[in-house]
């Protein structure tokens, strides 16, 4: 595209972002500040993720973009087209074919492999934000690995509701050192981060933070010994492909109380349906 650098961002900005990325990979789970740029979309739509993707994209990469697990939602379509036009890279909706996957809310159901990079759009990078209003105090807690407060929050949930009520952005300990907000992915996806062969990069545009989970890093969801972390999944099979292990969306179909549960990962669902017709 004329008048723009490859993948929209200028090379100096990309270098700055890459430096932050290298540091983030070197210190897993630690939030690295970076000079977030104005992007041609509003904060909250994925400015952090887009800057990370723009900085790591090469001409040979194959890009997949998902939003709420789906490849065909507005944001996913726009961001995919944005990079198709500004970088001229190949795009795909298939998880297995992609080398870079920019995501919001989900980690694909299909197992990731070595060499793949998942880029997350993060609204709130600070896991302690809701508990400790002072940013400086929160940073001190990170520096001293002092995360008792997060356990107080879990304690409160169990005391009031009998279980931990966090269903998304469930806090994790990365490499036994840093508490990390895994972005608004469902708690269901947390175990996919643990010892994952892929590289996971998190970009928060408005908050100007980048953090990372390198391949094969231990990622543990916080819990109590007697209240272990449990996966929460709607107890149904996908109405389209029949999958019983995937994460489901509930879709209201009419105003008579009709509803259906379908895979939130559209690519995975299509693949399962393909297998069924082939069989």
């Amino acid at each position: 595209m004329n008048g723009y650098n490859f993948a929209y961002l200028d090379e100096q900005t990309k270098r700055m972002v890459r430096r932050a990325l290298l540091k983030a990979v070197a210190v897993p789970g630690h939030q690295v500040p970076f000079g977030s740029r104005e992007m041609p979309l509003p904060y909250g739509w994925g400015t952090g993720g887009i800057q990370v993707t723009a900085s790591i994209l090469g001409p040979d990469d194959v890009l997949k973009v998902i939003d709420q697990g789906a490849d065909d939602t507005t944001n996913a379509v726009s961001i995919r087209r944005f990079f198709a036009r500004t970088a001229g890279v190949a795009t795909t909706t298939r998880t297995v074919e992609a080398s870079v996957i920019q995501s919001r809310h989900r980690i694909p159901e299909t197992a990731l492999r070595e060499g793949q990079i998942v880029v997350y759009q993060v609204p709130l990078p600070e896991p302690l934000a809701r508990l400790e209003p002072s940013r400086a105090a929160a940073r001190e807690m990170h520096a001293m690995a002092d995360y008792g407060l997060m356990h107080v929050k879990l304690y409160e949930d169990i005391a009031r509701l009998g279980h931990v009520s966090i269903s998304f952005d469930y806090p994790v300990m990365v490499n036994g050192r840093y508490l990390m907000a895994p972005s608004p992915i469902p708690a269901f996806d947390n175990p996919k981060l643990d010892m994952s062969p892929a590289l996971h990069l998190f970009g928060a545009g408005r908050e100007k933070r980048i953090y990372a989970v390198p391949p094969y890093t231990e990622v543990r969801s916080l819990a109590f010994d007697d209240h272990p972390f449990r996966l929460i999944r709607a107890p149904h099979a996908c109405a389209l492909c029949g999958a019983r292990t995937s994460y489901l969306d509930e879709i209201v179909t009419d105003d008579q109380g009709g509803r259906m549960f379908v895979c939130s990962d559209t690519d995975y669902c299509a693949e399962q349906r393909g297998k069924r017709t082939a069989a």
């Binding site: 001293m144 690995a145 002092d146 008792g148 356990h151 107080v152 304690y155 005391a159 109590f224 007697d226």
Partner: protein, 268 residues
């Protein structure tokens, strides 16, 4: 039988503490020794340096001159102001405690009573079994609420539904849950009405005696000092003017300033 070296050596020992706040000498060459299980009252009028002394001993105020040494449970001696911050932080939440005059300063008002009491147990570096065990944290919280005479059925209530006296007792439970050997108290009964004060003093005295906790107690209330303290330290303008056993200082004050303080107490 040879005496226990831990009991014959001071738990906390400060030498030559001096702190200047602007042009004012808040502390001027203060020495303090505190033995295990001993309650030391620091009395004096407002502005005499009591709170500065407390904060300096606690490690949150850095002295211009002087040193504060602390003996840990293994008998090692640490310079409080040279400890690394994570170490000091851990110390503040395990072997030491601080009871503020205003309980809202220490408590988390949006967290239930049980969560408040359990917080120190969930903090890192508190090496007790079951630190990450919900059931055991809850058991400890219930036991401590009983200990400070709060109805255990209120364990899930928010502190804002508690009265002033209950809040102060909750703060004490929250502080003592890790069995500290040394607790700093800054006017713990200030701002409470007289009957609540009496009950709280009684509770503090019972707990401190039974658990053998050493206490540095800052107060301007001579009656509180007489009731709780073994030893007393009278401060005026940043200096210690008189020190000795509580009864001795109060019944036979030597310094003019102490005589003034003692004679100013209103008798009911």
């Amino acid at each position: 039988m040879s005496p226990d070296p831990l009991l014959s050596a001071p738990l906390l020992s400060a030498r030559g503490l001096s702190v200047r706040l602007g042009r004012v000498a808040a502390l001027d060459g203060v020495d303090v020794d505190l033995w295990p299980g001993e309650v030391l009252a620091v009395v004096g009028e407002s502005g005499s340096g009591k709170t500065t002394l407390l904060n300096t001993l606690f490690g949150t105020q850095c002295p211009d001159r002087g040193v504060v040494r602390y003996r840990d449970p293994d008998g090692r001696v640490h310079d409080v102001h040279r400890m690394s911050r994570p170490m000091l932080r851990t110390l503040h939440r395990s072997d030491w405690g601080f009871v503020y005059q205003e309980p809202r300063q220490a408590l988390r008002m949006a967290v239930s009573a049980g969560g408040n009491v359990g917080e120190r147990l969930m903090a890192p570096g508190i090496n007790s079994a079951g630190a990450r065990h919900y059931g055991r944290i809850r058991e400890a919280a219930i036991a401590w609420l009983r200990e400070v005479e709060i109805d255990p059925t209120r364990i899930d209530d928010l502190p804002r539904t508690f009265s002033g006296g209950m809040l102060q007792r909750l703060q004490i439970a929250r502080t003592l849950v890790t069995h500290p050997r040394l607790v700093f108290m800054d006017e713990p009964t200030g701002g409470l009405d007289v009957s609540v004060q009496a009950r709280l003093l009684d509770l503090i005295r019972t707990l401190v005696a039974r658990l053998r906790i050493a206490v540095v107690l800052v107060t301007h209330d001579i009656a509180v000092a007489r009731l709780l303290a073994d030893r007393m330290l009278v401060m005026q303008a940043g200096r210690v003017v008189e020190t000795g056993l509580t009864d001795q200082v109060l019944d036979d004050p030597q310094e003019p300033y102490t005589q003034l303080l003692v004679s100013s107490v209103l008798l009911a």
